[in-house]
Structures are given as structure tokens and as C-alpha cells.
Symmetry: C2
Subunit: 338 residues, 2 copies
DNA sequence: TCAAATTGCTAAAATGTTTAAACCAATTAT
DNA sequence: ATAATTGGTTTAAACATTTTAGCAATTTGA
């Protein structure tokens, strides 16, 4: 910023008029003569004038910037959320400042402080895996800065939220396996301290109960990545636990399972039908292609941002918060239907 | 920003002293009495004072913010670059504004304008696939805003750059295929207006020439995604073009080719050996696992940011630009060795 | 004892921009 | 003739902060 970028003052000096005249001329204010306007616009154009957004922010007490706190960018789901946020914010003339919490509570607190210091007009947050204390979010609310949670929300915190109906999606995924004639369906579950881990398991259980299938303990394993899935499957084969279907908490886990089965000569989907829960576009590149739940990350980003912008532009915050539930739809591919 | 965040003035009014005294007290300036300092710090603490970064930016003519233009966040490689950028910037007390060009020239131009308007202290850019005209970058230089290119650079533009040694990596990848006894090696190339597209092709050609293999025109196809690879392979099979190896410009392309071959009953790597160029961790989940070049995205982000920060903190820009070349190493997996 | 130095603060200017208000001719209305 | 209007500008204040200069009042030095 020590840079040579031209200012209104420079133009004023050059044209020997006052800065305010320049400002009005650029804004096409009716008080300014056509002649002056022409001269100002001409000079602004050739000298490549860019209004100083920083000064504007200060003046207007409005930065036209929204802050985003994201656990980890390097996940297809989160980066597609960012894409959605970016697109909507951009169209509305807003900038986006992105901060990664890296799943750390401390970093989340610092991120939030930074965003407040930069006087962002609103904040989008998905909380870190570590976060158990929510005082920092209450502080944001005290300062009346609009706040919208997406995907991972603070339970019981009054604020706008955009979430995926994990329970329903898991329910439908399991139901799909049952409808395909599968009865001995395993579930590879996520960590049970995260709401999504709980809900997906709950959806699985609900579908099984409704179908009158008794769920055996050994069908439920806590495994949420490629390697854990491999080990879990080896164990299942070793122990001769009989299953004909698998619903995994995410795609990578499902793919790990699929590979291990295939290595042992077990046919997918003939012998075992598999459904994942989408991390992104991995599902298209396996063979057979993986049936999975599409979480609509991009849409989550757009919806959350629209909600936030509505809040920002409405000015004062009332206390009627909206909770938007996106329904995550099952995309049926080769891994679950013969 | 219409928000109730407290300012220095508020504290001054409360304590019936002047704003400048508050400023000095907070900065622990020796002119201020211990008593006053204590009172100010106490009030600042309990009322949760956050210095207004916007006002600071204006005053200091320095925003402590760097701008990043990235083609598409939803790629493992680019999102890991961002992670690297974020971490280094964050440790140095800098904010990061991220803009996606979405591979569009127009958007890139607007992004750059936005960053300049926001008076970022420096800019990191990887150019879009579409970009052929570079005037917007020259404008940045005219304004003396530090600029560092990463991964996709503007050929012949004097600026700091961080790149992978694409030529060398492509050369080694091809060499690896040749060492495996392959002779009829195809190359699925990226767009030739991008330097990386050119260099990867050049590396391929170099290895082939060195091995004394005459490259046939039909072996080189411009295909850089899953779908294009599928079509290209179908065409190769249709035309009965005989190949026993393939070096693809990126992983998704390699995977598209692999699938199409496998669908036709062609064995990988027995009949055709395949090597990709890493987009990330896709390579582990195919069957067989894909041999690929690891591009070290995170490291590229950190190195580029360090370069930029050095430039920013050094103040005036000299014209000795640095080019950092990261060596990308080949990770050999099942798709290329029997 | 009187000048010089020190202490602890405040006023004012500056960063780039917007905007309400003021200003000053010249003209028109009453 | 006086008042009001109009056109085209400028002044000044404001946004939050830092910083230079300065100002009393007190203390020190010779």
C-alpha cells in the first residue's frame, strides 16, 4: 500500500479542483457540470483510478467483506462450500476473507478475533472438531455482527444455520440397501462425539428397525477412513461375519472397503452392496461407481451466504433465526444395484 | 461494521482522557504514567477492545493482507497450496483474501482489480487456463504492488515465481515408463498456452528422444480431464493405434484412461502402463494404484508466501526476481510396474 | 535562583473518501 | 429594490487510528 495507486486527491490536485468535486463527479452527482465530470472521468480512466476500498470501509463503517471460518480447505466438501460462498458474495460485491481453523479450538478463537478486528460485515462458521467452549461466538453476537453457521453448528446457539439432513440421508441410504433385498447390512461409523457421526448412525438404525431387521453389534464398526476400512473388512472376513451390504460414513471409507473386498475376489455389488456418504467426486472414479449421498457443498455455500447477506443488508438483527436444512439426495450408482 | 465494537474514542470518553493518550497507553509508550496505562488496559480488556484494522490500514498505508488468485479451489492441489499460504501468512500476522478465477480471464481481471482496490500488500497468482493477455499483471507492477506467481506463471514476465520442475518431472515419469520396457508411449497433454502444458509435453518428448524412440503424432492428444480422456481412449481403440504406455498431464485424465481401458478388458499395467501427474490423493484409490508425480502443493504455498512476504517487508522492489523450482518426485505405484 | 530538563498529558494533522452545509455570483420572482 | 432561486463549486466534519509538536507543571542542575 505504500504503492503508487492514485487517489481522489491526486486527481483533484491535477485538475485544480477540490477532492469533493472529484468524488461527486465520479458519482455522477447532478450538482456537477458536465464539463467537470468529463474531465474527471477522463483523468480517472487514463490514470487508472481505483477507489480505495479501505478508506471507503472506514467511512461507511461497512467493509463489504465477509469472513469465513472453515475447518480444513483440503476437503472436497469444504472447498466446494467455499466455491459457493465465493460466487454469491462476489455477485453481491462482497469480498471474502477465509480462515482455516485446522480443526483447532485455539486457532478458531484467533480467527474470529482477526475477523472482528477487520470489521467484516458478517461471519460464516463451521466449528472445529475440538471446539467445546462457545464463548467466542457469544462475543460475536454481543457485538451484533451477523453470524451464520454451516454444516457443523453449535447446539442450542441462537443463530442462522444451514445444515444437511444427515439422519434422513443415512436413513434413505440404508433403506435403499434394504429395498435391494439386503438384510445383513453393516455400518462403518464416524466418531460419535461429532453430531454427524451420531446422526448418520441413527439414520442407519432407524431404517433397520423400521424394516424389522435386528442389528447385530458386530455390524457396527467405528471406521472413517480408507485404512481403517481396510482393516475392518479384513477383520470381518477373518471372523466370518456374514454381511451383504455396507453403509459407510464417508466415501473414502466405502472405497477402502470396496477395494479390500475386490482384492479377495468378492464381487461388488453382487455379493455385497455398498453405499458411501460423499466427500466429493471420488464416487465417479471407482469401479463400479459408488452409490453415495450428495451433500451439495456448493449449494450449502450459496444458501449460507444468501442468508448472511440478507442479515447484513437488513441492518439490525432481529432474533428470529432461520435454520435451513438441505436435503442430501442419494445418487445411485453401480456399487449398490445389480 | 455498523456494529457496537468499541473504539479508542469510547475508552477515552469513558476515562475522560484524549484518544491519543489511550493509543499510547495501549502501546506502552513511556510518556504515559503507569496509573493511566493500568486504567486504559483494564477498560480495554473488560470492554473487549479490538483495534480497528481498517483504520489502521488507512493510516499505515499497509493492510497486512495478501491477496491470492487461484484458478479453482476444488482441486486438491490448489487447496493444499492455500493451506500452505494460510499457515505462513497467519504466522506473520497477515490476512489472506482469496479470489477464484474459475479459469476465466474476465474474472481474473476483476479479481485483480478488487485486490488492488482493497490495497492488499502483495498478490499471489496462478493464472487461469484462459488467460492469454497479461496487461492486468503489468498494471500491478506499475503500481509497485509485489506479485509472486505460483505454479502457472506468465512466460517472460519479470516477477518472483515458484514452480515445479514440470519438465524434469515429466521427463522422469516418461523415462520410468521406458525403463519398464515400454516403447509406444502416448501423451495426453494439457492446453499448450499454459506453460505447464508445454513443459510436461516437452519432458515427455525429451525422454522419448533420448531413448531414441520416434514419437508418432497420433500418440499426442490434447486431453486434460476425465471425460476427454475417455473419448480419446475410445478413439485410440477405434483407430487401432497401438500403445503400451501412457503419460497423462494430470491424475484425473490418467484415471479416465485407466477406466476406459479396463472396461474394454485391457489389463493395467500388463498391457498398458500408466503414469499421471498429481492432483492430490486420488492416486491411492484406484485399482491398481496410480503412479504419479507428487507436486507438493502445501510446500509451494509456503515457499510462495515466504517469497512474497520477503518482498513486502523489504519495502522497495528491486528488479532481481527469484525463481524457485520445487522438484516434484515420482511416486511409483501399481499402474506402471508389473 | 533561574534556566533547563523531565513528566504526563492534549491538540492537530494525516491516511482517502463521502456528504451536509456553506458560499458566491448571477439570475429571477415578488 | 429586496428576496429567493439556481448552478457549480468549496469547506468542514466524520470514520479510527497514529504521530508530531507542543504545553503546562514539576524537578533538576549549577
Amino acid at each position: 500500500m505504500k504503492s503508487g495507486l492514485i487517489t481522489i486527491k491526486d486527481i483533484a490536485r491535477e485538475l485544480k479542483i477540490s477532492p469533493s468535486t472529484v468524488s461527486r463527479a465520479l458519482k455522477n452527482h447532478p450538482d456537477i457540470s458536465e464539463e467537470t465530470k468529463k474531465a474527471v472521468n477522463e483523468l480517472a480512466r487514463i490514470s487508472n483510478y481505483q477507489p480505495n476500498a479501505v478508506a471507503l470501509s472506514l467511512k461507511q463503517r461497512r467493509s463489504n467483506t465477509i469472513g469465513v471460518i472453515i475447518p480444513e480447505i483440503v476437503h472436497y466438501f469444504f472447498s466446494s462450500v467455499i466455491s459457493g460462498i465465493e460466487d454469491v458474495a462476489y455477485d453481491a460485491g462482497f469480498n471474502v476473507i477465509i480462515c482455516q481453523s485446522n480443526e483447532k479450538y485455539d486457532r478458531e478463537v484467533v480467527n474470529l478475533r482477526t475477523l472482528l478486528a477487520n470489521r467484516v460485515d458478517g461471519i460464516l462458521v463451521s466449528i472445529s472438531k475440538e471446539t467445546q467452549n462457545f464463548d467466542h461466538f457469544y462475543k460475536v453476537r454481543e457485538n451484533e455482527v451477523p453470524l451464520v453457521f454451516y454444516d457443523r453448528v453449535v447446539p442450542g446457539f441462537d443463530a442462522d444455520q444451514v445444515i444437511v439432513d444427515d439422519l434422513e440421508a443415512a436413513y434413505r441410504a440404508t433403506q435403499h440397501l434394504i429395498e435391494g433385498g439386503r438384510k445383513k447390512i453393516a455400518h462403518f461409523a464416524g466418531p460419535q462425539n461429532l453430531l454427524i457421526g451420531q446422526l448418520r448412525k441413527e439414520g442407519y438404525l432407524k431404517a433397520m428397525h423400521e424394516a424389522g431387521i435386528e442389528v447385530r453389534n458386530e455390524w457396527i464398526v467405528e471406521a472413517d477412513n480408507f485404512e481403517k476400512a481396510r482393516i475392518a473388512i479384513l477383520n470381518i472376513l477373518e471372523e466370518k461375519i456374514s454381511i451383504d451390504g455396507l453403509f459407510a460414513v464417508n466415501d473414502l471409507t466405502a472405497i477402502g472397503a470396496m477395494h479390500t473386498f475386490q482384492k479377495r475376489g468378492i464381487k461388488i455389488p453382487d455379493q455385497i452392496a455398498i453405499v458411501g456418504f460423499s466427500d466429493g467426486h471420488l464416487s465417479g472414479i471407482t469401479d463400479p461407481a459408488l452409490t453415495s449421498v450428495d451433500q451439495h457443498g456448493y449449494e450449502m455455500g450459496t444458501v449460507a451466504t444468501e442468508l448472511l447477506l440478507k442479515r447484513i443488508l437488513a441492518g439490525k438483527t432481529d432474533h428470529l433465526y432461520e435454520i435451513k436444512v438441505l436435503n442430501a439426495n442419494l445418487v445411485i450408482r453401480g456399487s449398490s444395484v445389480v
